[in-house]
Amino acid sequence: MTQRRFIVEPRGLASIRLSIAVPVLSVLAALVVGGIFLALTGENAIEVYGEMIDAAFGSSRAISETLITTAPLILTGLAAAVAFKMLVWNIGGEGQLLFGAIFASGVAIWLGDGTSSAIAIPVVIMASAVGGAFWASIAAIPKVYLGTNEIITTLMLNFIALNIMNYLIFGSNSPWRDPESPQFPQGRPIPESASIPEFWNRLDYGIFIAIAIALLAYFLIYKTRWGFELRIVGDSADTARYAGIGVSKKILGVFLLSGAFAGLAGGLFVAGPVGGLDPRSLDLGLGFTGIIVAALARLNPIAVIPVAFLMAALINAGPALQSIGVPSSTVTMLQGAILIFAVAGEFFIANRIRRPERTDAAPDKTEAAA
């Protein structure tokens, strides 16, 4: 008999239950693997995890700090999600975030103190979106018209953006640099009128802006003509061309939108907790973490929200670990493990494994003559 023990077959439709269960299980599996690793290095895994949970959720301050990190992560997650949905591999969220921050702080400083908040805040946030889109366009335009590989260009542009920011603060007397602090170079604080008000500890209203943009992105992709075209192009560019859709323009549009989302993350940072172009507070790798967020959320803009919250908690737990003598890079390791399990978990969402039916036990099978 060629009876096989297991059969792997594709599921037609991924069930919603599974698409929630699998990411959750991936996180748990990553924690278990991380725990084993911690145990091998002589740590008490339970204690470490307890400390992490405490650091992320243990107090109203901890929760508000986690939410502060959540806001930009939602946006970098969206940046990756909309781009990946169309097979545009924008991994330049990092650089686009920084350029969003550069534009936002630049505009805020230029506006000065005299503008009312009702104008200053929206203008500063818009500026960050423009900044991110601008930085993305440097990779997007050559991709669309010359066919360059955006994985390479967006990645390299991250380093350029980082160095431009460092130059503005550390290497020059640019308007971005704080003139009050010549010994310790830092970003010039933006005027109070351009800052988003806080409402709970240090938490500002930026979190609601991020959530609103995620809902808007969902609406855009699933409920509008533009989004329908985007899904067609993402599924098959040839078919889209055949249906009369301008594929190049579409790809360019999505690329710029992706950059704008990442730029907004920088804008929320500047107009929120950071309050200026401060390299030490901006260079956190949130652009890259957004890729993990998008993957775990299976590119669904709404799922990006809870996933970003979870990743923010992980990030905020890092410094707390150092206080108990565990390297904070443990958090990076856990992030990596989660991503690996989530990607592997995709297989179980897309496929079903079952035992074959015992066909040899059915001798009464007669041929149905029509």
Binding site: M1, T2, Q3, R4, I7, E9, P10, G12, L13, K223, T224, R225, W226, G227, F228, R231, I232, D235, S236, D238, T239, A240, R241, Y242, A243, G244, I245, G246, P356, R358, T359, D360, K365, E367, A368, A369, A370
Partner: protein, 509 residues
């Protein structure tokens, strides 16, 4: 081993294979004797390709067993099947285009070392080609060859490995009648040497002509095997479909309306930038079906691309209802009333990962009732979708599932239905029933004839002569990007068309 078993090359017993919970093969028994040409008949989705793929080691059955020369055998990979002497020529060839014919023969051959003796290889290739009536230049690179020649290379590859069982999956679909004749001779010769040939086809007259025995599959089951000599084509058709069936034929038209599509001296390049359409002129009148016959790769694709705006022509003119649309983009062509059913359903005509409802709206989504401003109206997608699924009899649709899970016939009914739903002035179809079963073929042809009756000008580009003869009012033959023949359907015969398709001019007539 008894005597009867000794004659069997391969036997399948109770083979089962399911995909997505659907039986592609269900409890199939199949016997292949040494030295016979065995035809495998069946509608699309009847399980022929699955059965062949199991024999060739590409799929493993969920249950059931295979006996090779009486011995129970399991092929885990095509490589194992080849080593055991079973090889297959797939519909989509698996050759390396940049290598020469001889190099392709050597590829993956177990007895050849790292260094190739090119000269010896060329000699062997030429010798084999001559012996089996499959002449092909061993030094030619595969991409330079016509489809028919590439098929010869595939067969030579198997013969070079001295395969005892050859499986040919719809080999005649890409051949001219003359090339098919030659292939049949080759098949008979291989059989006379004691090899077994499995010949998959839809075409009853070919089966009748070349095979010794026929096995008919329907709905994944073996519904019977007969000696070809005793089988009447009508009986075979009935076994395939499970009912009596008459393919629609065209009624003679009383007259045609004014010209809806006029193409003048059209020039279109292929993807490599080489001239593929070299000055084609044609005119289609309202209510007329103009057929384009030709071996594939003679500019048919580029002709369709040029007319629909998918590839801007490098010269000439396309006029729709008297308006010059040559330089307009694809969307303008769609809006002005050119509908197009491409040959590649999932590669071009449909978005494979989107749902059937989405695909049915793939061109009309820009207008009401699908769109309201920038917003899409989800209920319209659902209602219009259900309506079209019913009207065009698209079966197997499950809400929320991607369209690629449908069978070929249902994909095509959805695609053709969507295009005619646009109420076009001109309908362009490329090989609209290629690979379809008789039932779906009937449905598609009925739609085309209904459009003709409605006054649509139809351009039917096909490699299937039976189809062209059944549907066209006028036939043009294309060869190397030019029209080499223009005939009324009643003066066209397969013979005459075949010669024109092969580039022979009609000087002698």
């Amino acid at each position: 081993m008894t005597k009867t078993e000794a004659r069997l090359a391969i036997e399948l017993r109770g083979v089962d294979k399911t995909f997505y919970g659907v039986h592609a093969n269900e409890n199939v028994d199949f016997q292949l004797e040494a030295g016979e040409v065995h035809a495998l008949l069946g509608e699309n989705g009847a399980g022929k390709s699955t059965l062949c793929s199991i024999l060739a080691g590409l799929y493993r059955p969920d249950s059931g067993e295979m006996l090779l020369n009486g011995e129970p055998t399991v092929f885990r990979t095509p490589k194992e099947a080849l080593a055991a002497g079973v090889g297959m020529v797939y519909q989509h060839f698996r050759l390396v285009p940049n290598l020469t014919v001889a190099e392709n023969l050597a590829l993956g051959h177990p007895d050849l070392g790292q260094r190739l003796n090119q000269k010896e290889l060329h000699n062997t290739a030429a010798e084999l080609g001559e012996r089996y009536g499959l002449p092909v230049d061993p030094a030619a690179r595969v991409w330079q060859l016509s489809v028919g020649q590439q098929q010869r290379v595939e067969i030579l590859k198997l013969l070079y490995r001295d395969v005892k069982v050859l499986i040919l999956d719809e080999p005649t679909a890409v051949l001219t009648p003359q090339e098919a004749e030659q292939l049949f001779k080759t098949m008979r010769q291989m059989a006379s040497e004691g090899r077994s040939v499995i010949f998959v086809s839809h075409k009853l007259h070919e089966v009748k002509q070349v095979s010794d025995r026929v096995t008919v599959l329907r709905g994944g089951k073996n519904v019977g095997g007969v000696d070809t000599a005793e089988a009447e084509p009508a009986d075979l058709a009935r076994m395939m479909v499970g009912r009596d069936l008459v393919l629609p034929t065209r009624e003679e038209a009383e007259g045609f309306g004014k010209a809806v599509l006029t193409v003048t001296d059209l020039m279109v390049d292929d993807a490599r930038g080489l001239e593929a359409v070299r000055g084609i002129s044609l005119k289609i009148r309202s209510g007329e079906v103009v057929g384009i016959a030709g071996v594939s790769g003679n500019g048919q694709r580029e002709l369709a691309y040029g007319i629909t705006g998918l590839r801007p022509p490098t010269g000439g003119k396309v006029e729709l209802d008297g308006e010059d649309v040559t330089d307009m983009n694809v969307l303008a062509h769609i809006n002005k009333g050119i509908a197009y059913v491409p040959q590649s359903r999932l590669g071009l005509g449909l978005a494979p990962g989107l749902t059937t409802e989405d695909n049915l709206a793939l061109k009309a989504y820009r207008r009401a009732p699908y769109s309201k401003g920038v917003r899409l109206v989800a209920s319209s997608f659902k209602e219009k979708g259900a309506e079209m699924i019913e009207r065009y009899d698209v079966r197997g649709v499950q809400p929320g599932l991607p369209i690629r899970l449908l069978s070929g016939g249902n994909l095509q009914k959805a695609l053709v239905g969507r295009e005619v739903e646009l109420e076009p002035k001109v309908l362009i179809l490329r090989s609209p029933t290629r690979g379809l079963d008789v039932g779906a073929t009937e449905a598609v042809r009925n739609i085309v004839l209904a459009e003709r009756k409605r006054g649509v000008g139809v351009l039917l580009i096909s490699e299937d002569l039976d189809e062209l003869l059944a549907l066209s009012d006028r036939l043009l033959v294309v060869y190397e990007g030019q029209i080499v023949g223009d005939l009324q359907t009643n003066e066209a015969t397969a013979e005459r068309l075949g010669l024109l398709m092969a580039g022979q001019t009609e000087a002698s007539t």
